[in-house]
Symmetry: C2
């Protein structure tokens, strides 16, 4: 599957082990642009933003172009107070010196346990190895994959997407990596994603485009309903293709491509949700108001009982009805229809007369399927991708720190 | 423990097996008052109320006195449409005829799988046995316990509380039974409770008192965040003690007693939460506004990551911080303190300098403990009782119908 991944020109990648994770696993990643890149980012809305999120928000607010992103796994540098912020600045300074850049050129992310002191000495030592690693000129997919592996926590596999698209100014490339697994929810919980392109684009247009795309991709997935202190999506555009995109048709092409990359990464995150065995699309249609559709959709997608029934391959539509009913949206039960893929299960709020349990069970045995809830009360809809809740979720999260 | 349970005079109890549950388990309960009882009830807010909930709401809205409550487990009679409502009326008629009552005297509850046709023939046959069982004059605790067992679904044990209190008019008794286990959440999810007393009391005062008590007891527990279509709390007062309570001091005594019974039943429900191994009190203090305190409290109490960490006995306070931070309440992270029982873990939003992991872990190894979150921003507070999220929860709910 990897041969089709397009790697964006004008960037170098590295991923090494610096000792933050046990057993020599990769835990420190570098994404380096050959030239200053226009930067856009979306961050967690958690009231306890991690130290690197505070650093990154400032960079984006000031409109800095960026040269590099340094990402560590193994420690979130969250709830670490003033010392955590000092550590971010130190890391940026040391990496900047090694790469002959300025600290403000360097974007930083961390993921891992919250509330432990940041092991800054370990990371500073790691920076030396990382720069040595760059000098070895390991390029292409192998380098990108190392970076994608180094940002993983409980992820089972690296998440990489790369595509090319044609614009009126020529061919451009978008390459993205992400990590997710637990705490995936609205507002991008414990999720990191980096999307790199070689287009030239206006900074404000880029930022607004990323916001729209994140709302249609990373904010449309749900694993366990938690939201982390560190969630970040960074998008860099370094312009090395020479393609300056300004016309609305070119910008539409770019936005569609950005959404494709973000959507594919989001799907990979759900499929690799902690312990997940199924990816389930929850689609609410026929709502009067998008907000009502979203409330019901999130209520179903986050229900522990519904997600456990998915794991049990149990076509227990009663639990879905219950979650629809407590979403806090007034509705007419007698209008509600529910289908599992093409199988109509509920018609008018009661079991469809033609429904057979074995047909519903056959759908739920698949690794991917959709649940469509039609309120028949309007034209609005909302869709989320969710996973099942499994024994492995409990095992992973009961034991994560030990 | 059972010898201290006081059984309210003027009521008869029965619990039998009528074939709704496999293996001859008790599945049909009757609570019968010797005379018409003033009735108050609180019902689910789910938009898909089960057929018996629709029946019961009408009785309460019309201010009917009640003589009996018939409760079946094994089938929820929810999402069963018009036929479900017809079945409730039929059951009430047949039981009324057998007991020489009117159908409107009979309160009905059902709990079990949602969306299956209601097995009305099985229940009607069961009513015969139930009335025979009453005629055998099995009285006292044995009869009450049979009723309490017959309303269980995935509960491991029956939940029974009975107390006596002194009023200015003499001694009165309150006896309650409940079932819970899964779907325990705000607004009384898949939870049934029946509290019987022998006081004489005004109907409106009784209804308002029950509302206040439910908000401080059954609505303060959380197991998995789901809310069912069938949740009901019924409170009957048949007056056989001859104690008419009208003064504010007597009413305060009664309300305190009602709250004690409801609170003890609610605690039993959390401790018997599906697969639960721990009962954890989440207490948010120092909030500016009760609503803010409640939002944060529910966010922590319902977090799958927090609840899984409790199961793992992992003092992972970072997950608690994360859940506080995404509750949707603006707060100052640098003011937040967190304690596990008497152990201060977080001070000013970062790890307390004197905190040692082994002290936190020692608290979490207990079957019951409290998590206190102090926002230091006001005078308001909110408390919930929650459980951990375990392998057994997944097993129970992945396999519940099979």
């Amino acid at each position: 599957m990897y041969e089709n991944i397009k790697i964006c020109p004008g960037y170098q990648f590295a991923g090494i082990s610096c000792g933050l994770k046990a057993g020599g696993a990769l835990d420190l990643a570098l994404l380096l642009s050959d030239c200053p890149a226009v930067a856009a980012a979306v961050f967690t809305q958690n009231q306890f933003p991690a130290a690197p999120v505070i650093w990154g928000r400032k960079q984006i607010a000031e409109g800095n172009n960026l040269r590099a992103a340094l990402i560590n796994s193994g420690n979130a540098n969250a709830c670490t107070g003033h010392q955590g912020e000092v550590d971010v600045a130190t890391v940026a300074e040391v990496l900047a010196a090694a790469l002959q850049l300025n600290p403000v050129d360097i974007f930083i992310s961390s993921t891992g346990v919250i509330g432990e002191p940041f092991p800054v000495t370990t990371v500073l030592k790691g920076i030396e190895s990382l720069v040595d690693n760059l000098a070895e000129k390991i390029t292409g997919f192998r380098a990108l994959e190392s970076a994608a592996r180094a940002i993983m926590t409980t992820d089972k596999s690296p998440k990489i997407v790369g595509i090319e698209v044609e614009t009126s100014q020529g061919r451009v490339t978008l390459t993205g990596i992400a990590k997710g697994a637990g705490m995936i929810h609205p507002d991008m919980a414990t999720m990191l994603a980096y999307i790199l392109t070689d287009v030239k684009i206006d900074r404000l247009i880029w930022q607004e485009m990323l916001h729209r795309v994140v709302n249609k991709s990373f904010n449309r997935i749900s694993v366990d309903g938690d939201m982390s202190t560190n969630d970040t999506v960074l998008a860099l555009a370094n312009g090395v293709s020479g393609c300056g995109l300004t016309t609305s048709s070119d910008l539409e092409i770019l936005e569609a491509a950005l959404l494709q990359v973000a959507h594919e990464l989001a799907v990979m995150i759900v499929k690799d949700g902690e312990g997940a065995t199924k990816a389930v699309e929850i689609k609410v249609v026929g709502a009067s108001g998008v907000e009502a559709a979203e409330k019901i959709c999130r209520s179903v997608a986050n229900s522990a009982l519904v997600k456990t029934a998915f794991f049990g391959q149990d076509a227990n539509w009663g639990r879905i009805i219950a979650a629809v009913g407590y979403a806090g949206v007034e509705l007419d039960p007698e209008l509600v229809n529910i289908s599992f893929d093409q199988v109509r299960v509920v018609s008018g709020g009661v079991r469809d007369p033609h429904y057979r349990e074995e047909d519903g069970s056959a759908v739920l045995r698949q690794p991917e399927f959709s649940v469509k809830i039609d309120l028949q009360s309007g034209e609005d809809e909302f869709t989320l991708l969710t996973s099942d809740l499994t024994h492995d979720y409990i095992s992973i999260n009961a034991d994560y720190r030990s």
